[in-house]
């Protein structure tokens, strides 16, 4: 009797050990996956940061070489160089801001500075800038004359800019980009939808597009660090809203942000 009980206890222990072993293996596999993802991210981030740095240093050196030769710099070349330095330093600043945002999110310190703002105005400002930067895309904005909401206008602008930038980047052959703003007074929400007819998102990536570091088209090397949608989702959720992706039959992607017009929570989780 006693022996049977002991052997039963041993079997139980073996089962416990086996389950613990399995858990450990799963944890190790998960940790390795996270490490590989972080490694891949660091590699992509370094590439993305070095690219504008190359232009910054290069154009500065090019202009200095002309001055060193006692040449009066050609005004066209001077303009080209200074404009590149201006644009590339802005790009670098955006990339660094994204990295800082991720660090703030990790620490639960991403905060909103909310005020009553016109969502339509925010959208129109973003589209005006985008129009200057691309000739291959045709923008259409459908919006009421105004849509007031209690939002952080700078953070909202960051979200809309990210969605519009993605629409441009992922329709490399150009095409229409439609931005719609709708307000629903009854439901107390305002929605912003950004639609393109570009590459869309491959089915196997659709569940992960809001994940940190995730890139929907890694094989295409289209730039970016895989942080834009992750940060956008955090900002939208801080507002008490939601962000969703739709994949229309005619192709492309439609990103829909729904924000309450009133007063949601304040801090990141």
């Amino acid at each position: 009797m006693a022996r049977r009980a002991t052997s039963g206890a041993r079997r139980g222990k073996r089962a416990d050990l086996s389950a613990a072993n399995q858990r450990l293996r799963a944890e190790i596999a998960e940790r390795r996956r996270a490490e590989a993802l972080r490694d891949e991210f660091l590699s992509i981030a370094a590439h993305e940061l070095k690219t504008p740095l190359t232009s910054l240093r290069g154009f500065a050196q090019l202009l200095m070489r002309q001055l060193d030769k006692d040449e009066v710099p050609d005004p066209m070349r001077l303009r080209q160089g200074l404009s590149a330095i201006d644009q590339q330093s802005a790009k670098l600043a955006r990339l660094v801001s994204q990295l800082l945002d991720v660090s703030r999110i990790d620490a639960g310190r991403l905060e909103l500075d909310r005020k009553v703002a016109d969502v339509v105005g925010v959208v129109e400002d973003v589209v005006t800038t985008a129009r200057v930067n691309t000739f291959r895309h045709e923008f259409t904005v459908r919006a009421p004359s105004g849509a007031l909401a209690l939002v952080d206008p700078l953070r909202l602008e960051q979200v809309v800019r990210n969605l519009v930038d993605n629409a441009i980047r992922y329709s490399p052959d150009g095409g229409p980009i439609t931005i719609e703003v709708e307000k629903s007074r009854g439901a107390g929400v305002v929605t912003i939808a950004v639609a393109d007819r570009g590459l869309g998102v491959p089915r196997e990536h659709r569940g992960r597009i809001f994940d940190r570091f995730h890139q929907a088209h890694p094989e295409r090397a289209m730039g970016g660090m895989g942080l834009g949608l992750y940060i956008s989702r955090q900002i939208v959720e801080l507002h008490g809203g939601r962000i969703e992706a739709e994949y229309p039959e005619q192709g492309g992607t439609r990103m829909v942000v729904t924000l309450p017009t009133g007063a949601p929570t304040g801090k990141s989780e």
């Binding site: 370094a46 590439h47 690219t51 232009s55 290069g58 590339q88 090397a221």
Partner: protein, 120 residues
Amino acid sequence: MSQRRILVVDDDETIGELLEATLLDAGYDVAVAAGGAAALELAERFKPHLVLLDLRMPGVDGRGFVEAYRRAKGRKAPIAVVSAVRDASAAAATLGVQGVLEKPFELNELLNLVARLARG
């Protein structure tokens, strides 16, 4: 020596402009392609003495360009990889190209590399 022709292949427009401006100032004839596929077409007409090649590009990337360029008929120019990828030197060694320059670089390094490889 006749004017040497340099084909720049880089999907980053600003870096393409930088390389073009630097090499034009140094007296080279320069053509710029924004990707591997366009570069293969351009190489046929332009007949470069040297190709400066980025690695990470949408569509036909640096590796794809090297493979297709080597298969194509005609005289082959040396290739130098100019890239911001990690371990660009190792990648260049795998591809068996003649030179490598990691971004960001000094313009002097670029011009020395080009002078050495485009000599013919």
